[in-house]
Symmetry: C2
Subunit: 418 residues, 2 copies
């Protein structure tokens, strides 16, 4: 069963927002042994939407549309799909009940039966929107399904989770699909397949489609395996895992699966009851932000100091003005003092520090943009290393924070109490 996604909205093609629904839908399908086959983004005029529907209908059995269901005049998805399938818009009791429910959930007065949300093309099934106002809808047309949800990411997400699979009802026994994922670090993509293990790609390809995806300072090696039953799937998974474990690449694998370093930190720190925090300079709060995106982080993450200016390093973290003068703010010495200072100040088990140059300004010959010192402090030891990365400000902040989170994860894994 092939799925296609049609995103309707000038705001994407005008560069005003980043599309998040493609990623959500493709992850959602993958975890359900299904695949997103193609995605297309078109302008919100009738001709473009028609062309998009036709292009996807030629390639897929299920068309999911995102966007254009709201209350303003540029929201024309419903009318356009109606004209595409040759149906007429009319007042619908079912649509009104859904819309009323959506309004009552937010304790907002329902605008009344003249409201556009109460009108739906004949044959369309209205869909409840539990996180917004605009109803979605579903229709069967010439052996294809069309499923339409609002473009607001949380509404699109919840509506898809609640309705999509029960409506399209994918056939049983169409096979199992699993995307194995091996997260490596510290080796560039070219080296993994060109030097460390030249035959790895070929060996893995016996079992399914292989992919390689560079992220921050590592590569995700993916193998998509298919099987007709659970036993065969298990055997293939075991075989792929053996190929990886027998390869010299294995020592760079830090995780098998899709868990992020943040999730692993929360799991490990909470299980070991370790209290931690960050002394962040150049990452400007990003390490803390990434950790607090994970629900459950508050059990172990106590807090951080963003010491962007040296005065904050001195006043709150107790970094000595002598060290700042002798070694500079970006130095292993200051990184160590930043980590140790906050750990002592707050009585934490582990503090990770980051001080570097994210650019574009502030670099020098001796310490170019991309230089970063990452430190850690525990009751047993306080250390720091200097690393060099490349990229623009945003990428560097991300890479610095990734290196800091890896350092934290290592410290958490090695932590054996005081």
């Amino acid at each position: 069963m092939k799925f296609g996604l049609l995103i309707i909205g000038n705001e994407i093609l005008d560069g005003k927002i980043t599309d998040l629904n493609t990623r959500f839908l493709s992850e959602f399908l993958r975890t359900n042994h299904l695949e997103l086959h193609v995605m297309m983004t078109v302008k919100d005029n009738e001709a473009s939407i028609h062309q998009g529907l036709k292009t996807l209908a030629d390639r897929c059995e299920v068309i999911v549309t995102s966007g254009g269901l709201g209350p303003t005049l540029d929201d024309i998805t419903k009318q356009t799909i109606a004209s595409y399938v040759g149906s007429k818009i009319m007042f619908s009791d079912a649509a009104m009940r859904v819309a009323e429910k959506n309004y009552s959930r937010f304790q907002r007065p329902f605008p009344g039966k003249e409201h556009g949300y109460c009108f739906l093309p004949e044959g369309f099934i209205p869909l409840d929107n539990s996180t917004g106002f605009a109803p979605g809808f579903f229709i069967h047309h010439e052996n294809k399904c069309i499923f339409s949800a609002p473009g607001v990411p949380r509404e699109f997400k919840v509506m898809t989770e609640e309705h999509l699979l029960r409506l399209v009802n994918p056939p049983e026994g169409s096979g199992l699909l699993e995307s194995l994922n091996f997260r490596t670090r510290k080796v560039p993509e070219e080296k993994i397949f060109g030097e460390v293990d030249k035959d790895l790609w070929k060996k893995l390809s016996q079992f399914g489609d292989v992919s390689s995806l560079p992220i921050l300072f590592g590569v995700d090696i993916g193998v998509k395996i298919r099987a007709s039953n659970q036993k065969e799937l298990d055997e293939k998974r075991t075989a792929v895992t053996k190929v990886m474990k027998d390869s010299p690449v294995w020592e760079n694998v830090w995780h098998v699966g899709y868990e992020s370093v943040e999730e692993m930190i929360v799991r490990t720190a909470n299980a070991k009851k370790i209290k931690y925090g960050f002394s962040e300079s150049c990452t400007g709060g990003l390490c803390s932000h990434r950790m607090t995106n994970i629900s459950g982080a508050s059990t172990s993450f106590m807090g951080s100091v963003v010491s962007y200016d040296n005065s904050v390093k001195e006043n709150i973290l107790g970094v000595s003005s002598q060290s700042l003068k002798d070694f500079g703010a970006v130095s292993v010495e200051v990184a160590k003092e930043m980590a140790n200072g906050l750990r002592m100040n707050l009585g934490l088990d582990i503090v990770i520090s980051v001080t570097g140059i994210a650019g574009p300004g502030g670099g020098s010959t001796e310490k170019p943009v991309g230089t970063v010192c990452i430190g850690y402090s525990t009751a047993k030891s306080t250390e720091a290393v200097r690393l060099q990365f490349y990229g623009d400000r945003e990428l560097l902040k991300n890479r610095f924070s990734q290196a800091a989170l890896f350092t934290l994860l290592e410290q958490l894994e090695n932590f054996a109490g005081v």
Copy 2:
């Protein structure tokens, strides 16, 4: 001149990464009076790429492709475009020179003339990649242009900026295009056009396509105006601005243009030489992260304390345990103490504090998930308000931080020294 973007990569359709290149390209085109007409994402197999090229060639004059130019076996964009245009891949001196330059920039040894980067289809122009290894390329084919760049966002961005327009050479006098943008806040989309000014959409539509885009807690109202010369463009801009200024919606407009609240803060704070920082609880560093994404922030942003745990609120910010006990961590009283405490501790001009419940846990009947208290402290006054938002953890963190940044901007604009 119509542009189409073809994104090639299973990693997008598998939900492993979020596509950022669409947003970059569409913004880039918009600022150059051009438009992205359609975007399509396909799998990295030959049949899907061919279909994608054909679909876009039917609709556009310029096809930009992203992805599939790297060194691994799933990188087949070059071969596939060669077969699409009926060209043969062969060794190319020009391609080798470009590849050598890319390697020498990173001080990495060049793999030699057998490397895939040295082979290019006949008639293709190799393109320098100043931030990565894989060269891009460009070709004219049957009155269409095809421009191919790597999918890594920074490489795609820099290569597009350096090469795209000089190669496709858009015709002069094809008209000017400007997207006017009015950023509103504190009124939901439905109310703006349904209650505050029912005729606004119609009035604006006289001048061009109108759009409405909800973001965080506001709406961006867009009007895309076209003109054959600069004078006409200026007149239309003035007319649209007058319609907006005459409308009751005007009092909710906080900015005309595309500047973000972060950029306005950096500009205002640096001009007025105001030193500020954040006391962040539930936003977990996001306010600071957003500010430090802006180059130049370090002139005025001094630092922050992420006081996720109450112990940090007491130890570093000097929040009284009595207030925490009497009013709870999420209260206007604690928000005021958080703001004032950090301001005194660091000797800053303005500190903004945020304490709330981002969920999914931690809510109560009296203080449900989405409750937030936002405070500010200056030498003249310390105040806080309680607000209520809706959404999941990530959305709430974003909305809380947006409210905090608006508070900061207001304080900066009102700031008249001590």
